[in-house]
């Protein structure tokens, strides 16, 4: 039936190609185009944030150096760079790419709908997001430079211009973050309602692919957690601009309140970006081990459980902030508990791999790389979740290496996994496997070379916020200096390997082999339409007859069984 679809689909695509370029690519309400808008904006910002990391890592390794491409890094430069590196990577890279781009692309295609249920709100969501990017960039150029008080925006650094020394920058930065939240609230409502209501006939709750579930749960987590921070952002803006004292203890406010408001959002936020990545990995692992996903319902319930638990752990970011020690006990316990569901998901993936006929294609390598690196991130989190150990390790490079071992697999490895996997569907071309594998191994090895040394410098006392270590004699031992330099050189190598990806991406897009409808022989619905799918996705919308993971079913000729195949 797939072949029957192909021809009318092409006619349909031609019909829409007559639209003007602006209408088709800038003002489109098509979920696939909006996915590309989010994805390319996110990737552009990843380049910006990656460049920032290069600049401040050079300053770390070679203090006082004239960094090529930037110049001398002043202390306020340094603060601005680390702040915006963190904020951009979380808010303007991980979220737009993992949730917005993949959510936009996959939800309608995987549930068999022709578009999102609110296409215009979807477009508005991207436009507001784009506005937030413009406002963010504006914050770099206002008087006093970009905000430099860390992406957590703690008061009094955030609240008082005489402390953050950035004048208007901090307010503009706050505005950019707020606009970004608005964009994702609109997008999230769209994702959730689409997945709830617009499923193809026959698709029951347990026939929804895991990645769709994960994006939906992530959107719900975002919606449920961001509210207090929105309220907090208004309070913070008033503290900055109207002279209120919500977070000023000298006048009756409380700076810890901001930390609670922020981390009540900030911790679920980790799972907001983690869950889509975990979902992408689930899809890839089942396809490339030709096996049914081990324990579908367990994965789903675990994800929901993780989501609920993620609301009970936030204060583990504040163990040294002077919070009530009795509460620190409770938050230690909940934090350690939340490692259980995550470990469970990892075991489920290993169980899926077990006994499968595994193909080590590029997407599969990324997916396996995700499991390996995220495991290290999760295990080191146990140390930090225990309040006793955290008091020693807090704000050292150990923390930094820990969360890069969680966020790098999520935002970078997860994205590359998804991108290489769905590239044939998105663009109708195949990527070069050899270059893909070179890119994978180059990135994977150099990533570990960056952050494993940082665990050790952190345990030896390297503090995150130090701009120039030469001011601290006990931190300028040759060993620490060598480790820092090694991490920095590894970063440059890793950034260099991204050029392989860019080259592969561009050349595949232009001259790549034309992709088939279903190159990976996968089950889910997006592989039953043309590559790339036409406007409206299918000439006739599909009907679903079975779950998404029926691979290697005994007694069938093919080792896959598409969800929309009748028999």
């Amino acid at each position: 039936m797939v072949v029957q679809h192909a021809d009318p689909a092409h006619e349909h695509g031609d019909h829409h190609a007559t639209q003007s370029w602006v209408k088709k690519y800038l003002l489109s309400t098509d979920h696939k185009i909006i996915c590309f808008q989010y994805m390319f904006t996110g990737m552009t910002l990843a380049i910006v944030a990656g460049f920032f990391s290069y600049v401040f890592r050079m300053q770390m390794a070679f203090p006082g150096m004239n960094v090529p491409g930037w110049g001398l890094v002043t202390p306020s430069d340094y603060n601005m760079l680390v702040t915006n590196h963190g904020a951009i990577m979380i808010f303007w890279v991980a979220m737009p790419v993992l949730i917005a781009a993949f959510g936009n692309y996959l939800i309608p295609l995987m549930i068999g709908a022709d578009d999102m249920v609110f296409p215009k709100i979807n477009r508005l969501s991207y436009q507001i997001f784009l506005l937030s990017v413009v406002v963010l960039f504006a914050s770099f150029f206002v008087d006093g430079g970009g905000f430099g008080g860390a992406w957590t925006m703690y008061p009094p650094l955030m609240a008082k211009a005489e402390y953050n020394l950035t004048g208007a920058g901090s307010s503009v930065f706050l505005l950019a973050v707020a606009l970004e939240f608005v964009a994702f609230l609109l997008g999230g409502i769209n994702f959730v309602t689409t997945a709830m209501n617009a499923r193809a006939p026959g698709m029951k709750l347990y026939d929804i692919p895991i990645v769709v579930w994960m994006i939906v749960i992530a959107s719900i987590l975002f919606m449920a957690s961001v509210g207090p921070l929105i309220a907090g952002a208004v309070m913070m803006l008033f503290d900055q601009q109207l002279g209120t004292a919500f977070f000023d203890p000298n006048r009756g406010g409380d700076p810890i309140l901001w930390q609670h408001l922020f981390w009540f959002f900030g911790h679920p936020e980790v799972y907001v970006v983690l869950l889509p990545a975990i979902g992408i990995v689930a899809e890839i692992i089942t396809v490339f081990s030709r096996k049914k996903l081990f324990a579908y319902k367990t994965v789903l319930n675990t994800a929901i459980g993780t989501g609920i638990l993620s609301f009970t752990v936030w204060a583990h970011h504040q163990f040294v902030a002077g919070i009530d020690p009795r509460m620190a006990n409770i938050f230690t316990v909940t934090t350690l508990i939340i490692s259980i569901p995550i470990a469970e998901m990892m075991f489920v993936y290993v169980a899926t791999l077990y006994g499968g006929s595994i193909t080590l294609s590029t997407p599969m390598l990324w997916a396996l790389g995700f499991i390996g690196t995220f495991l290290i991130g999760g295990v080191t989190g146990i140390f930090l979740g225990a309040s006793g150990a955290d008091i020693y390790l807090h704000d050292t490079y150990f923390v930094l290496a820990h969360f890069h071992y969680t966020f790098f697999p999520i935002a970078i490895i997860g994205t590359y996994a998804g991108l290489t996997f769905w590239f044939p569907k998105m663009f109708g071309k195949e990527m070069n496997e050899t270059l893909g594998k070179i890119h994978f191994w180059g990135t994977f090895i150099s990533f570990n070379c960056i952050f494993i040394p940082l665990f050790f410098t952190g345990m030896l006392g390297d503090h995150r916020r130090i701009f120039d270590y030469t001011n601290f004699p006990e931190l300028t031992t040759p060993m620490l200096e060598n480790l820092r330099a090694f991490a920095t050189l590894s970063l440059i190598v890793m950034l260099g390997f991204q050029l392989v990806f860019v080259y592969n991406f561009v050349t595949s897009l232009l001259w790549g082999k034309k992709a088939e409808i279903n190159p990976w022989r996968a089950n889910t619905l997006e592989w039953t339409t043309a590559s790339p799918p036409p406007h409206g996705n299918w000439p006739v919308l599909p009907t679903v007859y079975r779950g998404p993971y029926e691979y290697s079913v005994p007694g069938r000729k093919d080792d896959f069984w598409p969800q929309d195949a009748k028999g």
Binding site: R251, H260, F311
Partner: protein, 131 residues
């Protein structure tokens, strides 16, 4: 398109809602409750004020949500959703209040909070909550 027909059909099935109760009656009850909640503080008894203020607010909110917003007609899911959100807020309160309400620690003390207002109690006394 076959789907369009079925979608129109779906609209008939779900789009038309259950009965519309007598809204004016509910509005009248709400106004009576409003009067009670305003009158409550005049008795000057703290506990009565609290009950008439917040107890009645909850009752009023319930009446509006049930009758005006028809939460009983919407899927059960919506009720759970709203309750979950309220639960999360309770959780936030429980986690944050012990810190925010603390007026002193072993090495610090929060200054008297309103500049220029004579505040009779010493801030470190710590039994402000006892009303």
């Amino acid at each position: 398109m076959a789907e369009h027909a079925s979608h129109d059909h779906a609209h008939e099935a779900h789009g038309a809602h259950a009965h519309h109760p007598n809204y004016v009656k509910i509005w009248a009850i709400l106004l009576v409750l409003l009067i009670i909640s305003v009158a409550g503080p005049f008795l000057g008894i703290q506990i009565v004020t609290l009950v008439t203020a917040f107890g009645i607010a909850i009752v009023k909110a319930y009446l509006v949500v049930k009758n005006f917003m028809h939460i009983d007609v919407a899927a059960k899911l919506v009720t759970y959703l709203i309750l979950t959100m309220l639960l999360f807020m309770l959780l936030f309160f429980a986690g944050a209040a012990p810190d925010v309400m603390e007026s002193h620690g072993s090495n610090w003390e929060k200054p008297s909070w309103i500049a220029g207002t004579a505040h009779p109690e010493a801030p470190a006394a710590g039994h402000e909550e006892s009303h």
